[in-house]
Amino acid sequence: MKKYTNTGNKDTRSGFGDGLTELGKTNPNVVALCADLTGSLKMGDFQKNHPERFFQVGIAEANMMGIAAGMTIGGKIPFTGTFANFSTGRVYDQIRQSIAYSDKNVKICASHAGLTLGEDGATHQILEDIGLMKMLPGMTVINTCDYNQTKAATIAIAEHHGPVYLRFGRPKVANFTPEDQKFVIGKANMLNEGTDVTIIATGHLVWEALQAAEQLEEKGVSAEVIDIHTIKPLDEEAILASVKKTGCVVTAEEHNFLGGLGESVARTLTQNFPAPQEFVATQDTFGESGTPEQLMEKYGLNAEAIVKAAQKVLKRK
């Protein structure tokens, strides 16, 4: 199988921060808003380089979303930064009415998504945000897998007109996608071609899916690995082409199995090509405190869990 090299662990949020720094230089209409988490979101460089285009709103996320919506009037492209929990659930109605329904060109950039936020525990570990955001008409939903992809996505969404939810995380994780890989919204990345089972992963689970594919290869199973960074609009063509070939699928995400990538894939298959599917995702539960590794193991969100799911789904073919 195709070999991927981790060029050194890096956090996806730094990919966002560096992408924003780049946009600061290249796009004068980009403005950034932050709700007292500049350091966590790595927005410090943008703030330092462009103080006139940086808006510290304090711990007031609802106001931040409204201000961002208003700033699009006059041609600005606002990027909001706070944790995923405070970027979605806390401000759902503000996003729904002032941004999504009003078709405002706001980029909602959300760090510390999912269990890998770690020790802070369930109050901060949102596992429902993909569902919340993908249900909003017109909202593009992106969950990036590594530093390079997050940086590329940050730059790419500035060129896309319309509201975007960009989800990334806190910990340092493998950085393995090519630095120069163009980010195309809505286009899946085929990482490894295989014939027995399709593994469709998003976010931090993409690297785990590659590890799982290696382990499966040792067991004589040929796994196709697809990185779905854009959950909405979903690359249904890539998914269907793969599942028609392999006949079964495992979806993997750091999110509740209700409302996440897995459900979007299941709907696509049900409508077009019904096939057995297993879900590597949290099972309608909140998280808890712990290290990211401990949590991903406890809640079944790692390579081992993907291998088990693949073996299970293969028997259902």
């Binding site: 304090g58 106001n63 409204g66 919506a69 009415q97 329904y101």
Partner: protein
């Protein structure tokens, strides 16, 4: 520039439009709409510097945001009669396939509307954002917004009020329609908001009061005064006392017409108190 009689005629016609819109579909919010007829008329006919036509960015012109979106009938009437779309379109208020949704939206592309509102408490943040955008663009035009007094019970307003003063958003004039009524009754019975002047001042705003928001001259003076206070480092608030249901005797001084349409007989009586001036649609 229209004279006072022309403005009075405009207001009377707007009241007729409000009543006829809600009566036709037996739904909508006449009370607050009637109370704000003078404010909208003066704002759009006298005060705002507006360009011909409509584009979303609204550069080089004053902007207005309606936060308490349920008073859409008065907004639609004044937008139509200010040339944003034909007055005949008021016939489609709240009907299927209409651009005149129950609450204002940008979704159907109605000229004059720049944000959806209806879920309360969001408009001030949006107005601040638009004001920030104007400053970044070197555009010295102003941003106006309107809020219900009951709406101030929504916490997001106070985030916005704190922000606007702290960040010196001094190209914003936010008006509060102080009609002392909300759906469940008097604001003082539902949730008293105390001394709003003191509250806004404590947050660092410059406050102008319009004691009779149903008097055209007072509204005009108040808006002019507010305008003169912009650009001085503080956001400006107008606390404007109005009478809900103003202009229709049986609808005044009560919350009961907040979201209830008149029947045929009531409409006839209400219209007789507001004779046709500029021509019905």
């Amino acid at each position: 520039m229209p004279n006072t009689q022309q403005l009075e005629d405009f207001v009377t016609q707007v009241r007729r439009d409000i009543l006829r819109q809600v009566h036709k579909v037996n739904s909508g919010h006449p009370g607050g709409s009637l109370g704000c007829a003078e404010f909208f008329t003066v704002l759009y006919q006298e005060v705002m510097d507006r360009k011909e036509g409509f584009d979303m960015d609204g550069k080089d012109e004053d902007l207005f945001f309606l936060s308490n979106g349920h008073i859409s009938p008065v907004f639609y009437s004044v937008l139509a009669r200010s040339g944003y779309f034909s007055v005949e379109e008021l016939n489609t208020f709240r009907l299927i396939d209409s651009r005149l949704q129950g609450h204002p939206t940008t979704h159907e592309g109605l000229p004059g509307v720049r944000i959806a509102s209806g879920s309360l408490g969001q408009g001030m943040s949006v107005a601040i954002g638009a004001a920030n955008s104007k400053k970044l663009n070197g555009d010295d035009h102003l941003v106006y917004s309107l809020h219900g007094d009951g709406e101030l019970q929504e916490g997001q307003n106070w985030e916005a009020i704190m922000y606007a003063a702290a960040k010196k958003v001094d190209n914003l004039i936010a008006t509060v329609d102080r009609n002392h009524q909300q759906i469940d009754g008097c604001t003082d019975d539902v949730l008293p908001m105390g001394d709003l002047t003191a509250k806004f001042e404590a947050f660092g705003w410059d406050v102008v009061e319009i004691k009779d928001g149903n008097n055209i001259s007072e509204v005009l003076e108040g808006l002019k005064e507010a305008k003169s206070r912009t650009g001085k480092g503080k956001p400006v608030c107008i606390l404007m006392t109005t009478v809900m249901g103003h202009g229709v005797d049986f609808m005044m001084h009560t919350h009961k017409w907040h979201g209830v349409a008149p029947n045929d007989e009531q409409l006839e009586k209400a219209l007789s108190q507001n004779p046709e001036t500029l021509g019905d649609y």
